[in-house]
């Protein structure tokens, strides 16, 4: 990896334990502008925890996060745990990282439009009219402009996830994090979400995607990371991994996942 080009997001040596269970054992990853990185792994391999450590929804026990050249300050608590050094900095950092959750997590008491403008208005303190214009544009893009006055309860899972993507995009994030965005969806709804994600990749968005969708990993991303037991087992371009099958574990993982392709 070239060191003279600054990475958009750089995480180094992330460790995380829940009680006695060591979930992450030193993960490092650099994402450059325009990278689409798929993170694969069996359930329990720690890939979701890793993603949640990046925007500090989980506080890593160890490690360093650098977003756009700015290191997130961490301080050590008396009992040895790491804590965010400044809430202000964490909030600013999170506003630059778009997060899409497995279970959408739309705010149930707000309409689609309100969900999308909430972040820009309340966190970035932008003017309402400007936010609405931007939001309507984004809702057009994910195909839900007509549903802007619906409440999440009135939408299908696929539609909710597309709104969630628009909500994350509305913050104009530098990096988008996707935490298994299609895992909670009925099979027939997976395609519409993947299409939106593919379009984002083609726009040149920087994306980290934890997923089970082999088709997406293989055809959309430019790098694939395979996690196993809290560590990175192997990584490389899709062709290096899927054609080279560098490790025995990855070979088993691929063969056990029937290659689904929604494109």
């Amino acid at each position: 990896m070239s060191t003279h080009v600054q990475a958009a997001l750089s995480v180094a040596n992330i460790h995380k334990a829940f009680g006695a269970a060591q979930v992450l054992k030193g993960i490092s990853l650099d994402a450059h502008k325009g990278d689409v990185i798929s993170i694969l792994g069996a359930s329990g391999s720690g890939k979701s925890t890793f993603l949640r450590c990046i925007n500090l929804l989980e506080t890593p026990d160890e490690g360093r996060i650098v977003l756009d050249g700015e290191t997130i300050e961490m301080k050590r608590h008396r009992d040895g745990r790491l804590l965010p050094g400044s809430n202000r900095q964490v909030e600013a950092m999170r506003s630059k990282l778009g997060m899409v959750f497995q279970s959408f997590n739309l705010w149930s008491h707000m309409t689609v439009l309100q969900n999308v403008i909430e972040g820009p208005m309340r966190v970035l303190k932008r003017a309402r009219a400007e936010c609405v214009e931007e939001a309507e544009h984004l809702l057009h893009k994910v195909g839900l402009y007509d549903h802007r006055d619906y409440y999440p309860a009135h939408l299908s899972g696929g539609q909710q996830q597309r709104v969630a993507i628009a909500r994350a995009l509305a913050m104009n994030p530098q990096v988008m994090l996707f935490d298994e965005p299609t895992s909670a969806l009925d099979p027939e709804l997976v395609g519409e979400v993947l299409r939106v994600m593919r379009a984002l990749a083609e726009e040149g968005r920087t994306m980290l995607v934890v997923t089970h969708e082999m088709g997406f990993a293989r055809h959309v991303s430019n790098r694939v990371v395979f996690m196993q037991g809290g560590q990175i087992d192997c990584e490389g371009t899709p062709s290096e991994l899927f054609e080279g099958l560098p490790t025995e574990r990855f070979r088993q993982f691929v063969s056990s996942h029937q290659q689904r392709n929604h494109e």
Binding site: N55, R94, G98, N105, W107, S156, E192, A199
Partner: protein
């Protein structure tokens, strides 16, 4: 058989005491809610020095009858010269003030638990979504946790408000002339229990009906997302509107 003249006369007398009952209710409701917010904020604190006193408060006021709380405040506190000479005496020397304070203290204990239940029902994911866009703790509380908690707590709060309406009747036992106090007086003077009871019961039933309707109205206003889909918008939520790009 029914003496309509007596009934209407009684009803008028009881209605004369209605303002007392109403102000008892509204002032203790407002005061109790404020206090409950403080108690619940302490109760959910991670700091034991805050959460344990709150637990104790809730146990104390939910574990004893309101009547004994009211008597303790009305008769008990006046026993101390220090209290009689403090500024608090302005409120505590009047039966009405004592009634409001004890009603508020008591309802605050119950309301705090109701709010805590509402807080616990806020889905973790919706809080995380707020954190993920970089909301500060106050923004999160004001924009996400607060509205969801309010909506979840309202049904139980409606029940608590009805209980509070009924509890105001106890003020008559510390010589506040509310509806129940006047009713009891008329009964003891006339021995026409049934007629007086019917009139007083009617007043409380109407009052409770209005309270329940009012809270239901607020609840309805606050939960458009649980109602039907907006009219004029496209029909069923199907993936028919596929992404454009």
């Amino acid at each position: 058989m029914i003496d309509f003249a007596f009934m209407s006369d009684t009803l008028l007398k009881l209605l004369g005491a209605l303002p007392t009952t109403l102000t008892l209710f509204f002032s203790s409701l407002a005061l109790g809610l404020l206090l409950a917010l403080v108690v619940v904020a302490m109760r959910v604190s991670r700091w034991p020095l805050l959460s344990y006193p709150a637990r104790f408060y809730i146990m104390l006021f939910r574990g004893t009858p309101l009547l004994i709380q009211m008597f303790l405040i009305y008769y008990g506190l006046g026993q101390f010269p220090a209290v009689r000479h403090s500024v608090l005496w302005v409120v505590l020397k009047s039966p009405y003030g004592c009634a409001v304070i004890s009603l508020a203290l008591c309802t605050a204990g119950y309301t705090a638990e109701i709010i805590r239940g509402g807080l616990q029902s806020v889905p973790r994911g919706q809080i995380e979504a707020g954190q993920a866009v970089g909301m500060s703790r106050w923004t999160l509380l004001w924009r996400v946790i607060g509205p969801i908690t309010l909506r979840q707590a309202l049904p139980a709060y409606s029940t608590e408000a009805v209980l509070l309406v009924k509890s105001t009747a106890l003020a008559s036992l510390v010589t506040v002339w509310d509806v129940t106090g006047v009713a009891q007086q008329i009964i003891q003077r006339t021995y026409r229990t049934m007629e007086v009871f019917i009139c007083a019961a009617l007043i409380y039933l109407v009052l409770n009906f209005l309270v329940v309707r009012a809270v239901a109205w607020v609840e309805h206003r606050l939960s458009p997302h649980l109602r039907e889909r907006p009219l004029g918008a496209p029909g069923k939520p199907t993936p028919e509107t596929a992404p454009h790009s």
